[in-house]
Symmetry: C2
Subunit: 277 residues, 2 copies
């Protein structure tokens, strides 16, 4: 990074799910092999790296608080100078985030004085109420993980293509699930039955499953998104169905790129750290 | 079998999910190795063996109809005389069953003139409206498969023990999900968050997940179970949470053993076949 801009980037699938507590230094070393990183160059890290099963446990900020409420925590490393961003936790109802706080801080640094609700979809999606620069409350959903589990290993797998979706089917299914959320459980197996009995296009199967899961999430998150500013932070693939579903509910959202917000948030954290060292 | 009673039984995990179309004869041959089965002894089969991916595709009965509405279909075998029971299908909403029709026929043979709703829990659970000896309509749910997927491979896996459950937590969660089904999606990740932040007993985690899934199923199946006779057919482990959840909703159910109903249903099918050959 230089002056808040990324000069280059590297990517690895090694994360807290894959690595043991003492595996982070080696993984980072492998990833950064081609870069000439000295032990005094600061590395700012966010995400599960700061969770109990990460590299170092960074004590949570407790909402309501600023997204980067806590000081950075040094990871135990001889080779690198790693500073870890703490996640946030909520007491009632119980909830926690690791990484989204950084994207929220990035979003707020680019949109000062922004109040409203931020939706961060992904494997787990989080809805976050933001006011006066603070995270007021948040709620995490498992829709992305459920979609992956059902697409990968359930009776529905033969009826779903992960790469295409039928928009009209998606719209209809979201609307139906929002208006009768109690019918959700009855509509999952019907995707399989419809496929066996009538044959359905894989794009339709995917749109039905996605519409059911996102519809159920929107039903539960209604107090978050009804009648307020909404921003969605994520990859194109993750944000698209959420933006579409909200649009059809008369709740248009601003869509922003997760990587850009992460870089902006890491920059905020770096400047805090530099000012306080 | 002799005169409607099982003399001995054998069990194998080889089924339509594991076997190719031409693998059934060998699998059956291996299973029956120690029995001296001649090629003229009738073998009556039910379940996925009669599905498109089974041994022989047995044309579905279409509801409303008797549970064993169709004639048995011979499987293509040189070594064995196998007669396969057809499943049932429903046109609107699309649904299908393979095997439950046999247990329902068994139940009705032991309880003639019984009208009401039969619930058959398992990997997929089916709710069946029965009147005047016919299956009127049915609805299949994926709760058992969802429980297995979430217990086996999701972020919730560390918070759940599959062998124990806390009854009070289960009762509370079913009640909560039935009264606010739109909140379902918000309550899944909370099991993980509660465990990380406060620590919860694995029996409590299991009861919460099971209560959420069965609560959502009961919410969708309410038109089936409200104000009618209910019978549950399944294994002890499968029927217990359903019986308990219905009981707390003021809808007590008769619980019967799946294996006993299967044997009774196979006997009914055998007698039909013998009378019509």
């Amino acid at each position: 990074m230089r002056e808040g801009r990324a000069l280059a980037s590297l990517r690895s699938d090694d994360g807290a799910e894959q690595l043991a507590h003492d595996g982070f230094e080696t993984a980072l070393s492998t990833l950064l092999e081609t870069w000439n990183i000295t032990s005094d160059q600061p590395i700012i890290a966010c995400g599960m790296v700061g969770a109990a099963k990460g590299w170092v446990k960074a004590p949570y900020g407790v909402v309501p608080c600023r997204p980067l409420a806590q000081n950075l925590v040094s990871a135990p490393s001889k080779r690198f100078h790693v500073q870890v961003i703490a996640g946030l936790r909520q007491t009632t109802p119980s909830d926690l985030m690791h990484g989204d706080e950084t994207r929220i801080a990035g979003f707020l640094s680019l949109n000062p004085d922004w109040d409203g609700v931020i939706c961060l979809p992904g494997r787990h999606s989080t809805w976050v109420q933001v006011s006066a620069g603070e995270v007021i409350s948040f709620q995490t959903y498992m829709s992305g993980e459920l979609l992956a589990l059902l697409t990968g290993g359930s009776v529905l797998r033969a009826s779903i293509d992960g790469n295409v979706w039928d928009e009209a089917t998606f719209d209809f299914t979201v609307e139906e699930t929002l208006s009768k959320p109690e019918k959700l459980a009855a509509r999952l197996f019907a995707i399989h039955a419809d496929d066996v009995l009538n044959g359905i296009a894989p794009a339709v199967g995917r749109a039905r499953l996605s519409g059911l899961l996102i519809g159920a999430e929107l039903a539960a998150a209604r107090p978050y998104w009804l009648g307020t500013n909404i921003a969605i932070i994520g990859t194109d693939a993750a944000t698209l169905p959420y933006a579409r579903a909200l649009q059809t509910q008369g709740a248009p959202a601003t869509v922003t790129d997760a990587e850009r917000m992460t870089v902006a948030g890491l920059t905020v954290a770096y400047r805090h750290w530099q000012a306080n060292r």
